[in-house]
Symmetry: D2
Subunit: 387 residues, 4 copies
């Protein structure tokens, strides 16, 4: 492997995403052996020194930092991977860009559109490689869905609907704030399900079906007060527990999106369905190796929804893995994105979604929250070029 070009990674944040990204980097060599670039796990950063040392030992990072600014300053870091809570994305990304680092940022890009704008400006000014971890694009069945739509099999699109349903915050004793539950703290997260879950749905939707033009939304906060982990006080909950919106896409189709953390029985049910003139598609994260496809061109008496097991070598990414019929899991979407990022360094093409693409998604999130607050339709201002 000596003749591979090394990209020295500085990972900031050691939570769930710190783990999925680290795993992504470590699998590239085994499954994408032809890549000219290879990641080196140079440093990992987290405020708690004991924890970050344990993380580094477990995952094989060469060094640790407890102040993210050190990561930016170090000359032996080529790429900064931002896995911290949302309220730090902008500051870190802007500093990293100024330092000329490549940036791989966990989604959502930022808490607000305004923050996101400062990040895009910084990236563009610095002209550094970047990508945002909207990982579900790289689930093979989702990538295949995109292929099918692009092939024209669906014809004119009439409907796009998606939801992302969870149930982990129903218990009122779940606190807000802190390492495990910052996603419930509006200061850290910016928003609730809109930025955390709907942002994924919006990214996939615009990638496959084009820009979202305007939205009409409703949000709800079912549990109004929770203990804050930091202060220990009972505080008002500022995030959206649930969000529903409908919208128009640029292509004239109607969109429908829903997300909640109060759907008892669903852990991470991200599903989408697209209805076109000639065919339809649907997908479900709980059964992620399958894509369902209905083709009206099939002979009428044997026409039906096809359950496609996306595990064959001619389907996206699957020649990398095992044999037909054997499934892969959630973590593989991150491996694929890591590999695609490294491939983009070879080809010179952007690794989508870039900060610019994620900024467009942020526009929709902002419009959704504005719409819910004002109880009115909002234009998004999206200019979608992210395909």
């Amino acid at each position: 492997m000596s003749n591979k070009k090394e990209i020295r990674i500085g990972l900031i944040g050691t939570g769930l995403m710190g783990r999925t990204h680290s795993n992504g980097y470590k699998r590239i060599g085994d499954f994408f052996p032809e890549l000219e670039y290879r990641p080196v796990l140079k440093a990992v950063c987290s405020r708690n020194e004991e924890k970050v040392r344990a993380f580094a030992e477990q995952w094989g990072y060469e060094s640790v930092e407890t102040d993210w600014k050190k990561i930016i300053e170090r000359n032996d870091i080529d790429a900064v991977d931002i896995c911290t809570p949302n309220d730090t994305h902008a500051e870190i990304a802007i500093a990293a860009a100024a330092a000329g680092k490549m940036i791989l940022c966990e989604k959502p890009l930022a808490r607000t559109l305004e923050e996101a704008k400062t990040m895009v400006d910084a990236i563009e000014k610095a002209d550094v490689k970047n990508t945002v971890w909207y990982n579900y694009r790289r689930v093979p069945a989702v990538t295949l869905a995109k292929q099918i739509v692009d092939s024209g099999k669906l014809g004119r699109i009439f409907h796009y609907r998606a939801n992302f349903l969870q149930d982990w915050t129903i218990n009122p004793d779940v606190p807000q704030g802190g390492a495990a539950t910052w996603r419930l703290d509006v200061d850290a997260a910016g928003s609730g399900v809109t930025g955390d879950l709907l942002a994924h749905c919006i990214d996939t939707a615009m990638w496959i079906n084009g820009g979202i033009k305007d939205v009409s939304a409703v949000t709800e906060t079912f549990i109004k007060e929770r203990v804050h982990q930091g202060s220990g006080q009972i505080q008002k909950v500022g995030i959206d527990d649930a969000c529903i919106f409908h919208c128009h896409f640029d292509n004239g189709s109607l969109g429908l999106f829903e997300s909640t953390r109060y759907a008892r029985g669903h852990k991470a049910l991200y599903t989408f369905e697209i209805n076109g003139e000639h065919a339809s598609i649907r997908w479900d994260l709980h059964d992620l190796n399958r894509l369902e496809f209905f083709d009206h061109n099939d002979e009428s008496i044997v026409r039906g929804w096809r359950s496609i097991l996306v595990t064959d070598g001619d389907q996206p990414y699957m020649k990398r893995w095992w044999i037909p019929g054997t499934s892969i899991g959630y973590e593989h979407s991150f491996i694929h994105q890591a590999a695609d990022f490294f491939e983009s360094l070879q080809t010179g093409k952007p690794c989508q979604p870039t900060f610019k693409d994620a900024y467009e998604t942020q526009k929709v999130c902002e419009a959704v929250l504005d719409s819910a607050a004002s109880k009115s339709w909002k234009d998004t201002g999206v200019i979608w070029e992210g395909n």
Copy 2:
């Protein structure tokens, strides 16, 4: 059977609903033998004499009429069943009420809330027995869903979502107007999917989850012009091809509803799902004998969505039919409603949904269409007592 009290039916309309209702009446004796009342198929009415004679012969009606007013005038008719296009419901129902007939009216009650109001006024003034054929309440799995919610198993309800997806009008050559396609003609139908399909979803939703307070909707007409069967001319399409709305229920839960006739691959996919604090429920008309149920109180390592095959004698209506494991179909919901209507004559209790209940559903439909037209939230004014 000589000691049964006869209810002489006058059926107006010989389309699909004329058939399902007739089948409902004819099955009661075989499957609800203990009922004290029995229907007599006294007369059927349709404008085309040849067709109405064939229908009468096929289904065993004793006589035919080609003018519905004759049905109202006849002294040998006790109950009028209205299966005509929506634009005639009000006139017929008001005349029937004035004549003191019992009335069984196909849904939606009317084209508009205003029309519906005149019908409710007429019924109340005449004090006649009445029901509206929102048949899906009587699918055993749906009735069981209601039982489960009423039992308190779900606890506080957070979400109710329903959709009704079809695909039969995608072809632009499908005309509007006429006997088979009056549902596409706004003059005959009043609205598109809102009155035809969402009205079902709204009726079920309010029956199970209580009143809908306010709504925010969007509608779309994908194919703007179609040939009119009557005039032979290409005319503007006035109906809503698709409609999506979100709403608040009186109990604080969020609702989400979608209907379209442009969802390729779905013939009559009516589904609903209810998420509560402790448990969730979902149902699908394409697999109507099943109810899915998730109970968070189950032991954690073996917790999962249960697929309940609703075919046992202790489940709603099923002691009437065959043996555990053997399914029933779409038509049985009408048989059950017919039987329940006849039972209501014994008990003196109303056979829900009554005109009054259906009027509340109409309020939601009207608010939905108003909301879509004005691009704003609308209060429904619903006062729900229909449980």
Copy 3:
């Protein structure tokens, strides 16, 4: 209806099958209006006078008998429908044939191959119209499966597998013998699951895939003793609680069949699957309106099992019923067979399966039981012409 030719039915037996057959006759006029013949429910027979009178009143039979021989003797009966326990099929059928009656016999034809032979001989000698109620052939999805295989879409067949799983006899307190539980009494039933359930699977299998040549079987009686309803005594259980066999079909494919009444969680799970060179098919009674179909000729990246909702007018029997997407149930298979029997009177063609066809199925059942008893392979001697 006056110009229809009447077939006066004498029904013997008022259990579940008495009800399904009666329902079959009564629906023909409504759903097969073009048939030249029509059934008249002339008489019903059962030993308990009170019960048979109630049955007659409920279902509309004109008269009752308590001795089946009276049914045979009556000149106003054209067709005898045998719905009694298996131990009486032969005697009744032979008498009915001798009297020149048409015969519709519930399956299995008889308790033993020897009994069945006497029945076929009697039928052939008398040359009377006959059919055996292997009703599942007339589930539209099953009929469609036959069409698909006959069309050649599967190519060479490699595998046929079927099972019929129930769970209603797990409780050791379920008695044997008597009106409700004669199926557990070997004297009345002849065998357990082999004659009751596997006979259905075998009939469907040979109809679709041709003759079964030889078999190797195992049976088990899990609960060795049960109270007999008649004697009130605990007696040895003589039936097979479970039966599994594998076999060769004449066409070289391998067959696999299993049935049990000890499969907790399955009420009436009759499924079959056929694997051919180019395509495969599977079906499940618990979801009887669907047929699953895999076509290897589909484009590889979008190839998958299709879930065909068999509810369209161009699919078998479905133009008789409602609209696309609306399901039918278990009872409809009997309605279809009744209608096909009446149509066969017009066309002069046999209404399959005839006694002769059912006799071939009986050969397989007998070989299966012989194989299990002797722990060896048995040739069936089947000569299949029943397609």
Copy 4:
């Protein structure tokens, strides 16, 4: 990591299993960080030098060999992992045992029972650590199934059924012999689906449900001749393309097993179902994160098969991975087995299935093939202690 005890692996064979095992070793550190032992990828062996060098580079093996005997001879190898075709398992394992190496052997243990016996003898004589890669035991849902049965939730077991269906050899142009298709060459493989696929089903079955006592089988070779990759000649096919058997378990339950490579539409459909007095379980490799469970003790009106998404931290192995609702894949079963092997070095307990356990599975395979050849029941002689 310096204080971990190193186990230096010598991998023999670089096919699919060489990859899955290598991946297993490489993931242990990241996901089982507490293990005291850690694997070192010391050497990999394959006859083709170019290919083995590429494999070593891709997977990070420190050195290569082209003669497996060198692996055995090397003093810097602690554990030999045998991933070669079946015809070499015995020779390698016996040599490795003689050299005192730990052995991890791919299944099936050997081509024949006789070969397997020599391997068990060698292992026992040398008293070396050993395991056989029947990986499906370590799919979390399968491990959970074992837990549920062991907990007594099912009560008395009546039925166990399993199948393993593939479709990759339907094309007669698929050759036999050679690197990719040695599984079709009886000399290399020993048998067809029996050793390759049914061996998995048998291992799982005996692990969960105890010993198999006797069997009655049928096998078929659908395509009688194929080109041999080695000779280039058309040769008779010696393997079983398909195998079906039924059996008795020691606990009195009936077993049913089927495997084929001619089931069009199924890539790797390994399913099993267990029916007990009180509850039933089923599982499907194509949806490997789910376990279905039916509990008759549930309240009757809401009783149904539960679809358990096995992704929570209290379910087997899942605390190692991501968050509830996020799935893992096929490869994880090998990671789990590798981790369990290393843990067994700490605990001193065997890592099941051991060679001894796999030898019992081999007895069933041998009895199955004997039964099919002789068309008679065969006792297996299994003495099952492998739980």
